[in-house]
Amino acid sequence: MSAHAAEQDHRPAGWRRWLLSTNHKDIGTLYLVLSVTAGVVGAAISFLIRAELQQPGMQFLENQEQFYNVLVTAHGVIMVFFVVMPALIGGFGNWFVPLMIGAPDMAFPRLNNISFWLLAAALVLLVASANIDQGPGTGWTVYPPLSTSGHPGAGVDFAILALHLAGASSVLGAINFITTILNMRAPNLTMMRLPLFVWSMLLTSLLLVLAIPILAGALTMLLTDRNFGTTFFNPAGGGDPVFYQHLFWFFGHPEVYIMILPAFGIVSHVVATFSRKPIFGHKGMIYAMMAIAVIGFMVWAHHMFTVGMNVTGRVYFTAATLVIAVPTGVKIFSWIATLWGGSIQLRVPLLWALGFIFLFTVGGVTGVVLANGGLSVALHDSYYVVAHFHYVLSLGAVFAMFAGFYYWIGKMTGRPYPEGLGRLHFWLTFIGVNLTFFPMHFMGLAGMQRRVPDYPDAFAGWNQVASTGAWISVASVLVFLVVLWRIFSARERVAANPWGEGATTLEWTVPSPAPFHTFTHQPVIEASPAPHWLNDGA
């Protein structure tokens, strides 16, 4: 600690420290705060949705179906752009990429600041959009013509601008990550030696750089269609609404990997740390992530099997989508192989990581079902799809977020998390979300469609179960808030490396909490032997 005391001197005080921050850790913290805040809002919306769906008939949104649609839209957009991405990329990425590669900060600290505040502004715009005119009741996909001629008010314009700002924020952040990772690694930290979380951030950033411009373009066309009389997606002027879907999903499918790749990275670290064994097949894991990133750009139209696509198209997109299961399987099996032969400590971060593997596997195999274009006549836009993407994303990504949170909170705050409450938090969440989302497979198979505020009475039973699960999740959110309070009120302090020999990456070599400035002198990594997280070579 004392060695770093001098470095801590130049910390700006008060609001300037945060508003004008150029420090990767402070900006990471800001992202995490934004994510938790938005997460509470997004979760509150989902509880409203579950409350409305708890029983057949309208519960409290009588004659407010548009508001229900706005809730559904806001839930999706908030969770994707303002919870998962800020936490995994902006939060943990900012905090730990420089630490893991031995860099003093991100490549462009001021750009980093802009990225964050753009996102904060976007969140304000988005929340505002829900209250302007009738609000955007279009779903997060914003399909025209519902989002153009179907929504005359300014709410959709605000939502589009919010997405534009969020996109700009992500792209600037991505440029920063790419530049940092490619140029600021400690000597002898070659690309193939990079820890997997850093690799996942690099690939995510590349995906962002390539995918966000597509979204920006599509949204811009939507905006001009709405306001300036263009007809990109308006058949009356020779446009095609299906064209928007192609553009959206050309962005949208990489987007789901943008959300899940960092989760893969975190889970890899947590699994390796708590099995006290280097990650199995480091290279294979990197190649698997690369493969997922590349294939992610080639499967977009599997979201559109029912638009009236030629059979050749459906065959191709079915085949390409099935292929994704291969690299994903490699990752799952590599995690298990990492655990195999390890000396496993079932600490809270590992619980979340194992939960992630479980939920991601369930979501992954239902993805294999949905990949079959032939089955889309039964499953497209049904609750089966809702179950699938909540298993892989909301539960997968969110479980990885919590794994990362419990794994790194000591490093970020210098304080320990309460182990017992952490376990309670995990088990409540695990039971709650499974109870919520597993029955949705049944509803979807039986034919319940998405995005409805009311449903035929036959679905009452499983919806009741799902809503019960949601109330358990409410309890788990409350427990999490208590966990936060316990952490920030804790008197104890944690060591630089609380996890012992399993925690091998560079962030565990600096004190806890990580000082304001770290690695002002580049750390030394030997050419040989390889860093501990690789064990024997690579």
Partner: protein, 188 residues
């Protein structure tokens, strides 16, 4: 110092590369607009009939079985026209050029401009449905009460019978939808 300079140079190079990627992807979106239209028309994807002005028909293939062509007409919500095919379903011999007529009539008391889109179902027949001349995508202004016949000439490619994915087809439908041209005139 030298190292700092080198690092700076490398950073600038990386950013330049990344920005190039972003610009390229913006180019992809911009290019996607004409590309999508071209691709659909050139490949017949999604049931878009091919437009081949000036195609000389190869003449009816005597051996080829006839196909039934149905005609479907739709009008957009705010277009005060009637729009209907002038003929019922028609037997068509692949390779022979066929003229069909749709009849549109302005029911409003003001001139109204419409534009038509069209496609063929089943979508997989699109590549084999060649349109020689049509009123597609051309704005048509009809005076109040005006009624016009809108002809379309097409040839069904005889290859439709040999493609294993389309050989079972006995019926195709040519569908037109007339919309009010956006921004072309004031409401009625």
């Amino acid at each position: 110092m030298e190292r700092q300079k080198a690092l700076r140079r490398r950073k600038i190079l990386t950013v330049a590369g990344t920005v190039t990627g972003i610009v390229a992807m913006i180019g992809v979106v911009a290019g996607a607009v004409p590309f999508y239209r071209w691709f659909c028309q050139a490949s017949g994807y999604g049931g878009t009939p091919k437009r081949v002005p000036g195609l000389v028909s190869s003449g009816p293939k005597a051996a080829a079985p006839t196909l039934t062509v149905r005609f479907d007409a739709n009008i957009g919500k705010d277009l005060p026209w009637s729009f209907t095919p002038a003929q019922g379903q028609t037997e068509v011999r692949p390779g022979e050029s066929v003229l069909a007529v749709y009849i549109a009539r302005n029911m409003a008391s003001v001139p109204v401009t419409g534009t038509a889109t069209f496609n063929v179902t089943p979508a997989k027949a699109g590549p084999y449905f060649n349109k020689i001349a049509c009123f597609c995508f051309r704005e048509q202004t009809l005076a109040p009460g005006e009624e016009v016949a809108m002809p379309v000439t097409f040839v069904v490619d005889p290859a439709i019978a040999t493609d294993p994915t389309t050989s079972e087809l006995t019926t195709l439908t040519l569908s037109y939808t007339f919309f009010r041209s956006p921004g072309s005139d004031a409401g009625s």
